[in-house]
């Protein structure tokens, strides 16, 4: 059951990314083009998601019994460290170069576009390489 629901939630996630055009790198770059010709759409995508997730995650976290798995796996690290900031800056630089972040990059594989395929292959190589980088 858990696995079927994971598959369904992935599909819904991918559908949401497509509805909001986040699978289009040019659309995402329009949001990051703050100093020139700014397209605020991505802020509405994040806002729309947060309106739903903030109250629902709160309720589910407080009432573990409502959750199918009956156990929670939530991040406990509260430390603001160099890794968090440097890693996020590195991620943002790659995001700004191409206009793809992990979710939309993987979703856009469905479009069979060569640039997305190249990007995702090197993103996974990057996942692997990150283990050897000490910050």
């Amino acid at each position: 059951m858990k696995n079927i629901l994971a598959l369904i939630s992935g599909s819904i996630f991918g559908l949401g990314l497509t509805i909001s055009s986040m699978t289009n790198p040019d659309k995402v770059l329009g949001f990051l083009d703050l100093f020139n010709n700014w397209d605020p759409s991505l802020a509405f995508v994040m806002g729309g998601a947060i309106i739903i997730t903030a109250p629902m995650l709160f309720v589910l976290t407080k009432n573990k019994n409502l959750i199918l798995s009956k156990e929670l796996h939530l991040p406990t690290n509260k430390e603001i460290d160099k890794k968090l900031i440097i890693g996020s800056l590195i991620f943002g630089a790659g995001w700004g170069l191409v206009g793809l972040c992990p979710g939309p990059a993987i979703s856009s594989l469905a479009l069979l576009e060569v640039p997305s395929i190249i990007f995702v292959i090197f993103m996974f190589i990057g996942f692997y390489c990150s283990k050897f980088i000490k910050i």
């Binding site: 990314l17 509805i19 083009d33 997730t53 939530l74 900031i85 630089a93 469905a110 990057g126 996942f127």
Partner: protein
Amino acid sequence: MKIDFVNFTPIPALIGGIVIGLAVVLFFYSTGRLAGVSGIANNALTKNTNRATNLLFLIGLISGPIFYQVFISSDIPYIINNNTLILIIGGLLVGIGTQIGMGCTSGHGVCGISRFSVRSIIATISFIFSGVIVVYLMNILGLN
């Protein structure tokens, strides 16, 4: 700064965002985990625990645009910088950065902010900041 009203699509953005939010909630309900895509993708490859769940979520993610084409519209816009070197560097930076920073737009930007996590708020500001700077520099250099 000026707003690009030609390309600004607040309604589909908001609807798509709400749909993404519902997906995050369903994933949390079924697994007790947050749907951060960079973490799920990395774990699917490197960890045996929950591998089936993670892989199925990723397969679902890829099926999203296909459902869109079948039920909503066959037109899914896709415009990208085709320079292979930029794609390779971008992919590597996104892969490395999301693992070191422990999250991406979904993990920090949606799930973390929804939980009012200070770490995620700082991460989100950081990656939007460097993304804006890189786009600004690319525009100056004429690489976009």
